[in-house]
Protein backbone atom coordinates (compact mmCIF):
# COMPACT_ATOMS: atom_id res chain seq x y z
CA UNK A 1 0.00 0.00 0.00
CA UNK A 2 2.76 2.43 1.03
CA UNK A 3 4.59 1.54 -2.13
CA UNK A 4 1.56 2.31 -4.29
CA UNK A 5 1.12 5.69 -2.64
CA UNK A 6 4.82 6.46 -3.13
CA UNK A 7 4.61 5.45 -6.79
CA UNK A 8 1.51 7.57 -7.33
CA UNK A 9 3.23 10.49 -5.61
CA UNK A 10 6.34 10.06 -7.76
CA UNK A 11 4.18 9.94 -10.88
CA UNK A 12 2.33 13.09 -9.83
CA UNK A 13 5.59 14.94 -9.18
CA UNK A 14 7.11 13.93 -12.50
CA UNK A 15 3.90 14.88 -14.32
CA UNK A 16 3.66 18.33 -12.76
CA UNK A 17 7.37 18.73 -13.39
CA UNK A 18 6.92 17.97 -17.08
CA UNK A 19 3.95 20.30 -17.31
CA UNK A 20 5.94 23.05 -15.64
CA UNK A 21 8.78 22.54 -18.11
CA UNK A 22 6.41 22.73 -21.06
CA UNK A 23 4.96 26.00 -19.85
CA UNK A 24 8.49 27.33 -19.47
CA UNK A 25 9.73 26.66 -23.03
CA UNK A 26 7.40 27.35 -25.96
CA UNK A 27 7.53 25.14 -29.06
CA UNK A 28 9.37 26.33 -32.16
CA UNK A 29 5.98 26.75 -33.86
CA UNK A 30 4.79 29.05 -31.08
CA UNK A 31 7.98 31.11 -31.23
CA UNK A 32 7.78 31.36 -35.02
CA UNK A 33 4.10 32.35 -34.99
CA UNK A 34 4.76 35.01 -32.34
CA UNK A 35 7.64 36.68 -34.18
CA UNK A 36 6.80 36.14 -37.88
CA UNK A 37 4.65 39.29 -38.40
CA UNK A 38 7.40 41.49 -36.97
CA UNK A 39 10.05 40.02 -39.30
CA UNK A 40 7.77 40.07 -42.36
CA UNK A 41 7.33 43.82 -41.89
CA UNK A 42 11.10 44.39 -42.30
CA UNK A 43 12.26 45.47 -45.74
CA UNK A 44 13.38 42.53 -47.83
CA UNK A 45 11.97 39.74 -45.63
CA UNK A 46 9.84 37.45 -47.81
CA UNK A 47 9.32 34.42 -45.58
CA UNK A 48 9.60 33.00 -42.08
CA UNK A 49 9.40 29.24 -41.66
CA UNK A 50 10.72 26.19 -39.86
CA UNK A 51 13.53 24.20 -41.45
CA UNK A 52 16.37 21.94 -40.34
CA UNK A 53 20.06 22.60 -39.88
CA UNK A 54 22.84 20.22 -40.97
CA UNK A 55 22.51 18.31 -37.68
CA UNK A 56 18.79 17.75 -38.18
CA UNK A 57 17.70 20.22 -35.52
CA UNK A 58 14.72 22.43 -36.26
CA UNK A 59 15.59 26.07 -36.85
CA UNK A 60 13.65 29.21 -37.68
CA UNK A 61 14.48 30.26 -41.25
CA UNK A 62 14.08 33.87 -42.32
CA UNK A 63 14.06 34.38 -46.11
CA UNK A 64 15.26 37.55 -47.84
CA UNK A 65 14.63 38.74 -51.39
CA UNK A 66 18.36 39.56 -51.81
CA UNK A 67 21.36 40.49 -49.67
CA UNK A 68 20.11 43.09 -47.19
CA UNK A 69 22.95 44.04 -44.84
CA UNK A 70 20.79 46.38 -42.72
CA UNK A 71 17.95 43.93 -42.27
CA UNK A 72 20.39 41.08 -41.66
CA UNK A 73 22.15 43.09 -38.95
CA UNK A 74 18.83 43.59 -37.16
CA UNK A 75 17.91 39.88 -37.10
CA UNK A 76 18.67 37.81 -33.98
CA UNK A 77 20.84 34.67 -34.07
CA UNK A 78 18.46 32.97 -31.62
CA UNK A 79 14.83 33.34 -30.62
CA UNK A 80 13.64 31.98 -27.26
CA UNK A 81 16.35 29.32 -27.43
CA UNK A 82 15.81 28.34 -31.09
CA UNK A 83 18.47 29.04 -33.70
CA UNK A 84 17.68 31.47 -36.50
CA UNK A 85 19.09 31.02 -40.01
CA UNK A 86 18.91 33.68 -42.71
CA UNK A 87 18.64 32.58 -46.37
CA UNK A 88 18.41 34.48 -49.64
CA UNK A 89 15.17 33.08 -51.09
CA UNK A 90 14.51 35.66 -53.81
CA UNK A 91 11.31 37.58 -54.49
CA UNK A 92 8.30 35.26 -54.19
CA UNK A 93 5.87 35.55 -57.06
CA UNK A 94 2.59 33.87 -57.87
CA UNK A 95 3.36 31.60 -60.84
Amino acid sequence: MKRAVAAALALLISWTGAAGEKAMSPTIQEVKTKHAPRFLALSGVVSVGIGRDADGREVIVIGLDRARPETQASLPAQLDGYRVRVEIIGTLKAR
Partner: protein, 332 residues
Protein backbone atom coordinates in the same frame (compact mmCIF):
# COMPACT_ATOMS: atom_id res chain seq x y z
CA UNK B 1 16.01 -22.81 -80.09
CA UNK B 2 17.36 -19.30 -79.60
CA UNK B 3 18.24 -17.20 -82.65
CA UNK B 4 20.82 -14.47 -82.84
CA UNK B 5 19.65 -10.91 -83.23
CA UNK B 6 20.76 -10.57 -86.87
CA UNK B 7 18.68 -13.59 -87.91
CA UNK B 8 15.62 -12.15 -86.15
CA UNK B 9 16.18 -8.70 -87.68
CA UNK B 10 16.39 -10.25 -91.14
CA UNK B 11 13.14 -12.17 -90.57
CA UNK B 12 11.47 -9.00 -89.31
CA UNK B 13 12.62 -7.04 -92.36
CA UNK B 14 10.87 -9.49 -94.68
CA UNK B 15 7.68 -9.81 -92.59
CA UNK B 16 7.23 -6.22 -91.34
CA UNK B 17 5.25 -4.99 -94.32
CA UNK B 18 2.90 -7.94 -93.96
CA UNK B 19 2.41 -7.50 -90.19
CA UNK B 20 1.86 -3.75 -89.90
CA UNK B 21 -1.33 -3.57 -92.02
CA UNK B 22 -2.98 -6.25 -89.87
CA UNK B 23 -5.84 -5.09 -87.71
CA UNK B 24 -4.73 -3.82 -84.25
CA UNK B 25 -0.98 -4.04 -84.98
CA UNK B 26 0.72 -0.67 -84.28
CA UNK B 27 4.43 -1.57 -84.14
CA UNK B 28 6.88 -4.39 -84.79
CA UNK B 29 10.33 -4.96 -83.37
CA UNK B 30 12.86 -7.40 -81.99
CA UNK B 31 12.69 -8.31 -78.31
CA UNK B 32 12.89 -11.14 -75.82
CA UNK B 33 9.70 -13.16 -75.70
CA UNK B 34 7.74 -12.74 -72.52
CA UNK B 35 5.80 -15.80 -71.43
CA UNK B 36 3.30 -15.46 -68.59
CA UNK B 37 4.91 -12.21 -67.49
CA UNK B 38 8.46 -13.61 -67.40
CA UNK B 39 11.15 -12.61 -69.88
CA UNK B 40 12.57 -15.69 -71.63
CA UNK B 41 16.01 -15.92 -73.22
CA UNK B 42 14.52 -16.34 -76.70
CA UNK B 43 14.58 -13.46 -79.17
CA UNK B 44 11.28 -12.96 -80.93
CA UNK B 45 9.44 -10.71 -83.36
CA UNK B 46 7.34 -8.49 -81.11
CA UNK B 47 4.05 -7.23 -82.48
CA UNK B 48 2.59 -4.38 -80.47
CA UNK B 49 -1.20 -4.23 -80.69
CA UNK B 50 -3.80 -1.74 -79.55
CA UNK B 51 -5.54 -4.54 -77.66
CA UNK B 52 -5.37 -8.32 -77.49
CA UNK B 53 -8.18 -10.09 -79.33
CA UNK B 54 -9.05 -13.80 -79.20
CA UNK B 55 -7.82 -15.63 -82.32
CA UNK B 56 -11.31 -16.80 -83.27
CA UNK B 57 -12.48 -13.17 -83.31
CA UNK B 58 -9.88 -12.28 -85.95
CA UNK B 59 -9.99 -12.78 -89.68
CA UNK B 60 -7.25 -15.27 -90.65
CA UNK B 61 -5.17 -12.57 -92.36
CA UNK B 62 -5.21 -10.45 -89.19
CA UNK B 63 -3.80 -13.25 -87.02
CA UNK B 64 -0.15 -12.90 -85.99
CA UNK B 65 1.37 -16.36 -86.68
CA UNK B 66 3.00 -18.08 -83.68
CA UNK B 67 6.31 -18.15 -85.60
CA UNK B 68 7.79 -16.52 -88.69
CA UNK B 69 10.65 -18.34 -90.48
CA UNK B 70 10.97 -20.47 -87.33
CA UNK B 71 11.34 -17.41 -85.09
CA UNK B 72 8.72 -17.07 -82.35
CA UNK B 73 6.44 -14.03 -82.28
CA UNK B 74 5.17 -12.21 -79.22
CA UNK B 75 2.03 -10.12 -79.10
CA UNK B 76 2.11 -7.24 -76.61
CA UNK B 77 -0.77 -4.88 -75.85
CA UNK B 78 0.62 -1.32 -75.86
CA UNK B 79 -2.50 0.66 -76.74
CA UNK B 80 -2.65 3.36 -79.38
CA UNK B 81 0.77 4.96 -79.95
CA UNK B 82 0.61 8.76 -80.16
CA UNK B 83 3.26 11.41 -80.60
CA UNK B 84 3.98 12.88 -77.15
CA UNK B 85 2.00 16.05 -76.87
CA UNK B 86 3.38 19.25 -75.42
CA UNK B 87 1.66 20.20 -72.18
CA UNK B 88 0.63 23.45 -73.83
CA UNK B 89 -1.41 21.57 -76.43
CA UNK B 90 -5.13 20.86 -76.35
CA UNK B 91 -5.94 17.61 -74.52
CA UNK B 92 -9.31 15.83 -74.54
CA UNK B 93 -9.70 14.26 -72.13
CA UNK B 94 -7.41 16.66 -70.27
CA UNK B 95 -5.25 15.08 -67.54
CA UNK B 96 -3.59 16.88 -64.62
CA UNK B 97 -0.37 18.69 -65.51
CA UNK B 98 -1.47 20.48 -68.70
CA UNK B 99 -2.07 24.13 -69.57
CA UNK B 100 -5.34 25.71 -68.38
CA UNK B 101 -6.57 29.17 -67.59
CA UNK B 102 -9.37 31.67 -67.14
CA UNK B 103 -10.19 33.60 -70.37
CA UNK B 104 -8.47 36.73 -69.04
CA UNK B 105 -5.16 35.24 -67.84
CA UNK B 106 -2.06 33.80 -69.55
CA UNK B 107 -1.82 30.13 -68.54
CA UNK B 108 -1.36 27.93 -65.49
CA UNK B 109 -1.59 24.23 -64.75
CA UNK B 110 -4.60 21.95 -64.34
CA UNK B 111 -3.81 20.34 -60.96
CA UNK B 112 -6.09 17.34 -60.65
CA UNK B 113 -9.70 16.29 -60.37
CA UNK B 114 -11.52 16.68 -57.06
CA UNK B 115 -15.07 16.14 -55.85
CA UNK B 116 -17.60 18.31 -54.10
CA UNK B 117 -20.87 16.67 -53.10
CA UNK B 118 -20.17 13.82 -55.49
CA UNK B 119 -19.57 16.06 -58.53
CA UNK B 120 -16.23 16.22 -60.35
CA UNK B 121 -14.32 19.50 -60.64
CA UNK B 122 -10.85 20.52 -61.80
CA UNK B 123 -8.60 22.06 -59.16
CA UNK B 124 -6.06 24.81 -59.72
CA UNK B 125 -5.19 28.22 -58.25
CA UNK B 126 -7.46 31.23 -57.85
CA UNK B 127 -4.95 33.22 -59.95
CA UNK B 128 -5.23 30.60 -62.73
CA UNK B 129 -8.98 29.85 -62.79
CA UNK B 130 -10.41 33.01 -61.19
CA UNK B 131 -8.02 35.74 -62.43
CA UNK B 132 -6.91 36.66 -58.86
CA UNK B 133 -10.47 37.37 -57.57
CA UNK B 134 -11.46 39.27 -60.75
CA UNK B 135 -13.90 36.67 -62.05
CA UNK B 136 -17.50 35.52 -61.80
CA UNK B 137 -18.92 32.10 -61.24
CA UNK B 138 -19.60 30.57 -64.67
CA UNK B 139 -16.67 32.31 -66.45
CA UNK B 140 -15.11 30.27 -69.27
CA UNK B 141 -12.02 28.22 -68.47
CA UNK B 142 -9.86 27.34 -71.47
CA UNK B 143 -7.59 24.33 -72.10
CA UNK B 144 -4.98 25.20 -73.20
CA UNK B 145 -4.84 28.60 -71.50
CA UNK B 146 -5.01 31.79 -73.62
CA UNK B 147 -1.19 32.20 -73.73
CA UNK B 148 -0.92 28.72 -75.27
CA UNK B 149 -3.45 29.50 -77.99
CA UNK B 150 -6.62 28.50 -76.17
CA UNK B 151 -9.59 30.31 -77.76
CA UNK B 152 -13.11 30.91 -76.58
CA UNK B 153 -15.42 29.13 -77.24
CA UNK B 154 -13.58 26.34 -79.11
CA UNK B 155 -11.20 25.43 -76.29
CA UNK B 156 -13.51 26.02 -73.36
CA UNK B 157 -13.32 22.99 -71.08
CA UNK B 158 -15.05 24.19 -67.93
CA UNK B 159 -16.85 26.98 -66.09
CA UNK B 160 -15.49 28.62 -62.96
CA UNK B 161 -17.41 27.16 -60.02
CA UNK B 162 -15.86 28.61 -56.86
CA UNK B 163 -12.68 30.19 -55.49
CA UNK B 164 -11.21 31.28 -52.18
CA UNK B 165 -10.62 35.06 -52.45
CA UNK B 166 -6.99 36.10 -51.96
CA UNK B 167 -6.68 38.99 -49.53
CA UNK B 168 -4.12 41.55 -50.74
CA UNK B 169 -2.14 43.99 -48.62
CA UNK B 170 -2.88 47.68 -49.00
CA UNK B 171 -6.01 47.13 -51.07
CA UNK B 172 -9.47 48.48 -50.29
CA UNK B 173 -10.68 46.95 -47.06
CA UNK B 174 -13.84 44.89 -46.87
CA UNK B 175 -14.29 45.86 -43.20
CA UNK B 176 -17.86 47.22 -42.83
CA UNK B 177 -17.07 49.15 -39.67
CA UNK B 178 -14.14 50.95 -41.31
CA UNK B 179 -16.28 51.67 -44.39
CA UNK B 180 -18.94 53.21 -42.14
CA UNK B 181 -16.43 55.42 -40.35
CA UNK B 182 -14.95 56.55 -43.66
CA UNK B 183 -18.40 57.33 -45.08
CA UNK B 184 -19.02 59.66 -42.12
CA UNK B 185 -15.62 61.31 -42.57
CA UNK B 186 -16.16 61.76 -46.30
CA UNK B 187 -19.63 63.26 -45.65
CA UNK B 188 -17.96 65.71 -43.26
CA UNK B 189 -15.33 66.57 -45.88
CA UNK B 190 -18.04 67.15 -48.44
CA UNK B 191 -20.07 69.33 -46.06
CA UNK B 192 -17.15 71.66 -45.41
CA UNK B 193 -16.31 71.82 -49.12
CA UNK B 194 -13.04 69.87 -48.81
CA UNK B 195 -11.86 68.00 -51.86
CA UNK B 196 -10.18 65.37 -49.66
CA UNK B 197 -11.77 61.92 -49.44
CA UNK B 198 -10.76 58.95 -47.32
CA UNK B 199 -10.77 55.27 -48.23
CA UNK B 200 -10.14 52.15 -46.18
CA UNK B 201 -7.18 49.91 -46.91
CA UNK B 202 -5.87 46.73 -45.29
CA UNK B 203 -2.78 47.79 -43.40
CA UNK B 204 -2.68 44.73 -41.21
CA UNK B 205 -1.91 41.64 -43.22
CA UNK B 206 -4.89 39.33 -43.57
CA UNK B 207 -3.44 35.87 -43.69
CA UNK B 208 -4.29 33.65 -46.62
CA UNK B 209 -3.86 29.91 -46.43
CA UNK B 210 -4.72 28.97 -50.02
CA UNK B 211 -4.73 30.28 -53.58
CA UNK B 212 -7.32 27.82 -54.87
CA UNK B 213 -10.28 27.54 -57.21
CA UNK B 214 -12.39 24.85 -58.85
CA UNK B 215 -14.10 24.70 -62.24
CA UNK B 216 -16.93 22.50 -63.49
CA UNK B 217 -16.09 20.54 -66.67
CA UNK B 218 -18.55 21.07 -69.54
CA UNK B 219 -18.54 17.30 -70.07
CA UNK B 220 -17.25 14.84 -67.47
CA UNK B 221 -15.49 12.79 -70.19
CA UNK B 222 -13.36 15.79 -71.29
CA UNK B 223 -11.23 15.53 -68.15
CA UNK B 224 -9.16 12.66 -66.84
CA UNK B 225 -8.30 11.65 -63.27
CA UNK B 226 -4.68 10.79 -64.07
CA UNK B 227 -1.85 13.31 -63.81
CA UNK B 228 0.65 13.34 -66.72
CA UNK B 229 3.81 11.34 -65.93
CA UNK B 230 2.53 10.66 -62.38
CA UNK B 231 -0.63 8.59 -62.84
CA UNK B 232 -3.46 8.18 -60.37
CA UNK B 233 -3.66 9.85 -56.97
CA UNK B 234 -3.41 7.24 -54.20
CA UNK B 235 -5.02 9.32 -51.45
CA UNK B 236 -4.37 12.30 -49.23
CA UNK B 237 -1.06 12.87 -47.47
CA UNK B 238 0.42 15.62 -45.37
CA UNK B 239 3.58 17.66 -45.93
CA UNK B 240 6.37 17.38 -43.35
CA UNK B 241 10.01 18.48 -43.19
CA UNK B 242 12.22 16.43 -45.51
CA UNK B 243 9.35 14.76 -47.38
CA UNK B 244 10.24 13.84 -50.99
CA UNK B 245 7.71 15.40 -53.37
CA UNK B 246 6.95 15.69 -57.10
CA UNK B 247 4.74 17.74 -59.34
CA UNK B 248 3.65 17.69 -62.98
CA UNK B 249 3.30 21.18 -64.43
CA UNK B 250 2.68 23.02 -67.71
CA UNK B 251 6.13 24.65 -67.92
CA UNK B 252 8.70 22.37 -66.28
CA UNK B 253 6.88 19.04 -66.57
CA UNK B 254 7.63 16.37 -63.99
CA UNK B 255 10.04 17.63 -61.32
CA UNK B 256 10.96 16.34 -57.89
CA UNK B 257 12.09 18.02 -54.69
CA UNK B 258 11.96 17.97 -50.94
CA UNK B 259 10.05 19.99 -48.36
CA UNK B 260 12.72 22.26 -46.87
CA UNK B 261 10.48 24.38 -44.66
CA UNK B 262 7.07 24.01 -43.02
CA UNK B 263 4.88 26.49 -41.16
CA UNK B 264 6.03 29.13 -43.66
CA UNK B 265 4.60 32.65 -43.51
CA UNK B 266 5.40 34.46 -46.75
CA UNK B 267 4.84 37.69 -48.67
CA UNK B 268 3.95 36.80 -52.26
CA UNK B 269 3.79 39.24 -55.20
CA UNK B 270 0.82 39.11 -57.57
CA UNK B 271 2.08 41.38 -60.32
CA UNK B 272 3.68 44.75 -59.69
CA UNK B 273 2.65 46.38 -56.45
CA UNK B 274 0.25 43.66 -55.35
CA UNK B 275 1.28 41.66 -52.32
CA UNK B 276 -0.47 38.95 -50.30
CA UNK B 277 0.53 37.34 -47.02
CA UNK B 278 0.25 33.54 -46.73
CA UNK B 279 0.62 31.38 -43.61
CA UNK B 280 1.11 27.67 -42.92
CA UNK B 281 2.69 27.06 -46.33
CA UNK B 282 5.19 24.42 -47.43
CA UNK B 283 8.46 25.44 -49.06
CA UNK B 284 10.56 23.34 -51.44
CA UNK B 285 13.60 24.04 -53.60
CA UNK B 286 13.54 25.24 -57.22
CA UNK B 287 11.10 22.78 -58.82
CA UNK B 288 8.82 25.19 -60.74
CA UNK B 289 8.61 28.17 -63.10
CA UNK B 290 5.89 30.58 -64.21
CA UNK B 291 2.98 28.58 -65.66
CA UNK B 292 3.40 25.70 -63.20
CA UNK B 293 0.94 27.33 -60.80
CA UNK B 294 -1.90 25.03 -59.93
CA UNK B 295 0.17 21.84 -60.15
CA UNK B 296 -0.80 19.09 -57.75
CA UNK B 297 2.08 18.17 -55.40
CA UNK B 298 2.35 14.50 -54.38
CA UNK B 299 4.61 12.40 -52.18
CA UNK B 300 6.53 9.38 -53.48
CA UNK B 301 3.51 7.13 -52.80
CA UNK B 302 1.32 9.36 -55.00
CA UNK B 303 -0.55 10.83 -52.05
CA UNK B 304 -1.69 14.39 -52.69
CA UNK B 305 -0.01 16.81 -50.25
CA UNK B 306 -0.29 20.27 -51.79
CA UNK B 307 -1.17 22.81 -54.46
CA UNK B 308 1.77 24.70 -55.97
CA UNK B 309 1.16 28.44 -56.41
CA UNK B 310 4.30 30.58 -56.08
CA UNK B 311 8.06 30.63 -55.97
CA UNK B 312 11.32 32.45 -56.58
CA UNK B 313 14.54 31.58 -58.43
CA UNK B 314 15.42 29.07 -55.73
CA UNK B 315 12.19 28.16 -53.98
CA UNK B 316 8.67 26.86 -54.55
CA UNK B 317 5.71 27.70 -52.29
CA UNK B 318 2.92 25.17 -51.84
CA UNK B 319 -0.49 25.35 -50.13
CA UNK B 320 -1.23 22.45 -47.79
CA UNK B 321 -3.89 20.26 -49.42
CA UNK B 322 -5.65 19.99 -46.02
CA UNK B 323 -6.44 23.72 -46.18
CA UNK B 324 -7.41 23.61 -49.88
CA UNK B 325 -9.86 20.78 -49.23
CA UNK B 326 -11.36 22.31 -46.08
CA UNK B 327 -11.75 25.84 -47.51
CA UNK B 328 -13.41 24.60 -50.72
CA UNK B 329 -15.20 21.64 -49.03
CA UNK B 330 -13.59 19.08 -51.36
CA UNK B 331 -12.87 15.35 -51.33
CA UNK B 332 -10.88 13.17 -53.69
Amino acid sequence: MAHDVETVRAALATSRDRLLPQAHVVATGVGYKITRGVKTGALSIVCSVTQKVALNQLRPRDRVPPAIDGIPTDVVATGVIRALQARTARFRPAPGGVSIGHRAITAGTLGCLVRRQGQVFVLSNNHVLANSNDAQRGDAILQPGPHDGGKFPDDQIANLEDFVPVSFLGLPSKCRFASGVVAVLNAACWSIGSKTRYRTVNLQAIDNRVDAAIARPLQPDQVKSEILEIGSIAGLGSGSLGLAIKKSGRTTGLTTGEITQVDVSANVQYGPGRLARFTDQLMAGPMSQGGDSGSAVLDSSNRLVGLLFAGSENSTIINRIEHVFSELRLTL
